[in-house]
Symmetry: C2
């Protein structure tokens, strides 16, 4: 009975989890694939670092070639992160006919298409379940579970840091900066949280999800994204009052051949399945033409959850090795993409405005919307402490993004509008 040998690139949070799961669940792995699995060599940056797992010293190396060029190593597991250097390593591994499992969303969002082509050319598997939504098997859900259906919409809470922050802000009425500090102290946010709070991390994941879900090559550059740094406590209070929950939503939608992929804070009706996804949890809501609404929920990060996805990919690679069919399961995108123009994107919008408290103000504003064909679902007008001012909060019916942009531009020229405090999309009504 041959032993399958693994080379590990990186031994940080996820890498330690991978080592633990392969050790602990060796029996289950053997039962499924018929032979033992061992980690042969691990590329690290520092040989003497204190780590969360015990690994014999002779397995560690500082030299990538010890992992990438060892002919005994069958599968490379990449959990080191990074983009350019990592890409070079994985290309070399694939050219050396090693299968690859990666958890690297940054890399897959930018170079996924290239890496998958090289993998197929070399009859190698390249799996990346862990790159989106940690422990949730969502990529398999799209590729296998819903292989017969055509997806029309995906909405993802795919960044745990921002979901933790928004949950705490909503529940405790705390300010963004305070909750960010708490998240950093708990390890849910990094010292430099920019990639998370700007929406970039979620945008990478939505590029990967959309490519698979819509069977089109969606690049990171196709994803418009906006983060959570501008969300105020007032926005959350009004959202709740109107029956909505604020979430950072990765949104992919398709009408026929045209798609929109974006990331932004959005308001969801309280009864929407995503609205109760709280704290650091992730979930991906998928709408298919035939299946209707489905949702996949679970931990979006963390050592063992993410490692579960990595090792499950490894099991798939090893099953394919046993059957001799590696490198033959990837399906290339079926459709060419056409991104929607702002005149083709339709949504409901939430506006919060500070206006002068004068006769006819509401009439002027509602007329402006009416002139652009936009009607209202909800309107609140409230006096403000500041003299001669009032606050207007409104939620529109569906209209095009282009019209909302025009309305905003014109509003900026209205003397009666002191400030457009915030605008958000409202998504997920009518069960979609």
């Amino acid at each position: 009975m041959k032993t399958i040998s693994i080379g590990l690139l990186g031994l940080g949070t996820v890498g330690s989890g991978v080592v633990k799961i392969i050790e602990r669940n060796q029996d289950k792995l053997i039962h499924q694939i018929g032979c033992p699995v061992r980690i042969k060599k691990i590329l690290v940056k520092n040989l003497n670092k204190e780590r969360d797992v015990e690994v014999p010293e002779e397995k560690l190396t500082l030299n990538p070639a010890d992992v990438l060029d060892d002919p005994e190593i069958d599968v490379i597991i990449e959990v080191m992160g990074g983009i350019d250097e990592t890409r070079a390593y994985l290309l070399e591994a694939l050219k050396n006919k090693k299968h690859v499992v990666t958890a690297n969303k940054d890399l897959m969002a930018l170079y996924g298409s290239e890496l998958l082509t090289v993998a197929t050319d070399n009859q190698c598997d390249l799996f990346y379940e862990a790159s989106v939504a940690g422990g949730i098997p969502i990529l398999r859900g799209l590729v296998d579970g819903l292989s017969s259906d055509r997806i029309t919409k995906m909405m993802g809470i795919v960044n745990g840091t921002t979901n933790f922050i928004l949950t705490k802000m909503s529940k405790n009425g705390s300010a963004y900066q305070d909750v960010l500090k708490e998240a950093q102290a708990l390890g849910y946010a990094e010292a430099d949280p920019t990639a998370d709070v700007s929406g970039l991390d979620a945008a990478r994941k939505m590029a990967i999800l959309s490519t698979l879900g819509f069977s089109m090559n969606i690049d990171l550059a196709d994803v418009k994204y906006e983060g959570i740094t501008g969300i105020s406590e007032e926005d959350l209070v009004y959202s709740k009052r109107l029956g909505y929950t604020m979430k950072l939503i990765g949104l992919s939608s398709r009408d026929g051949d045209k798609v929109e992929v974006s990331v932004q804070p959005a308001l969801l009706p309280e009864h929407h399945p995503l609205a109760s996804v709280n704290n650091e949890y992730n979930a991906v809501y998928v709408y298919g033409e035939a299946v209707g609404e489905t949702m996949f929920y679970g931990p979006g990060a963390g050592s063992l959850p993410t490692a579960t996805a990595v090792v499950s990919d490894l099991v798939s690679v090893m099953k394919n090795m046993r059957l001799g069919v590696n490198g033959r399961s990837a399906v290339s995108p079926q459709y060419s993409k056409t991104l929607k123009k702002p005149s083709e994107v339709k949504a409901k919008f939430f506006f919060r405005l500070h206006v002068k408290d004068e006769v006819g103000v509401l009439a002027k504003i509602t007329t402006l919307f009416a002139e652009h064909g936009v009607s209202f679902d909800k309107i609140l007008q409230l006096p403000m402490e500041e003299e001669h001012s009032s606050e207007i909060v409104l939620v529109t019916h569906r209209a095009t993004l282009e019209n909302f942009e025009k309305i905003q531009q014109k509003m900026n020229d209205y003397e009666i509008v002191k400030e457009i405090k915030s605008t958000y999309r409202v998504e997920g009504e009518n069960g979609k």
Copy 2:
């Protein structure tokens, strides 16, 4: 380019959906498998019945042999339901080297192990994703997505009829019989709803889920089940008041090698992910040692949702045909089962009692629990309209099922206890 030919057994609700999806999504299917798929022959009971899809008359047959013995047919899709006759058909199909996709939970819960063995012996695939939770790809989630992990608990809302009924009873304060009639009128409940409301349907699904999730042969006979017919409006009112939601929960839990599989109405904390699964929707909550909490949510029944699962299985069969690896993906159960005894099952319990309103009643009752080592989480005592009576509602801390059964027996002998109105398990606290 060869065409893959399908034989369909049954053309009812799910069968019509299968025909539609194969027609509508032919392009997507061809893209994935490299050749066209057509339905060659369909076994029906009545050639002239009005149906939801148009099918050329020559494709319909009353003779099973036209489907099962046609050498051109590669894959049999079974959506006719039933047990003994259907089992015989599928055994014949497998012996004729035809791959099988089935949506039949009744059959799989009873004869799944036999059919899977025959399939493997004949190098055939036998897939049954649609048999549990309709359109939700939960079996794949367990077998592939969480293949690296060890599952310790599954809780499923796996019967849409009872979930619809309980949701309406909870939200509108309606009585069971009234809501059942509404569900029947809407097509969510059958004319004879016994299999659903008794918990039998859910028990079948839990047997299938537990076999896969725990890698043990769990038979239907191993599943203790109880339905929803005894739930009163009062029970729902008290549940809500104490912060719980009542659901019909299929429960599989494992401690080491010992398992419990059961179906019963249970109370979940309102914030539990399953608590907001409403109406006819299904969801399966899965707890894995490494991954922690995950949940798979979606439509548990319906023509197109269930057909999505069937045709996704068909895609898997056809991909395996292309690779020449059919019949080699089934993994036989790894462990032998040991069912937990009542002394090994631990849970929290909800009790609702009618008692005489006398001095010392509460003391006597709490003493009885204390004598069995059971302490309390919550207690409510309320006067009743009936003279000299009061109602006691209590929720215990965790203790063994054996002790609860003893307490109930003794309580029956207490003159002060007029009636034990209801008892329910409380599940899903502390995130598990």
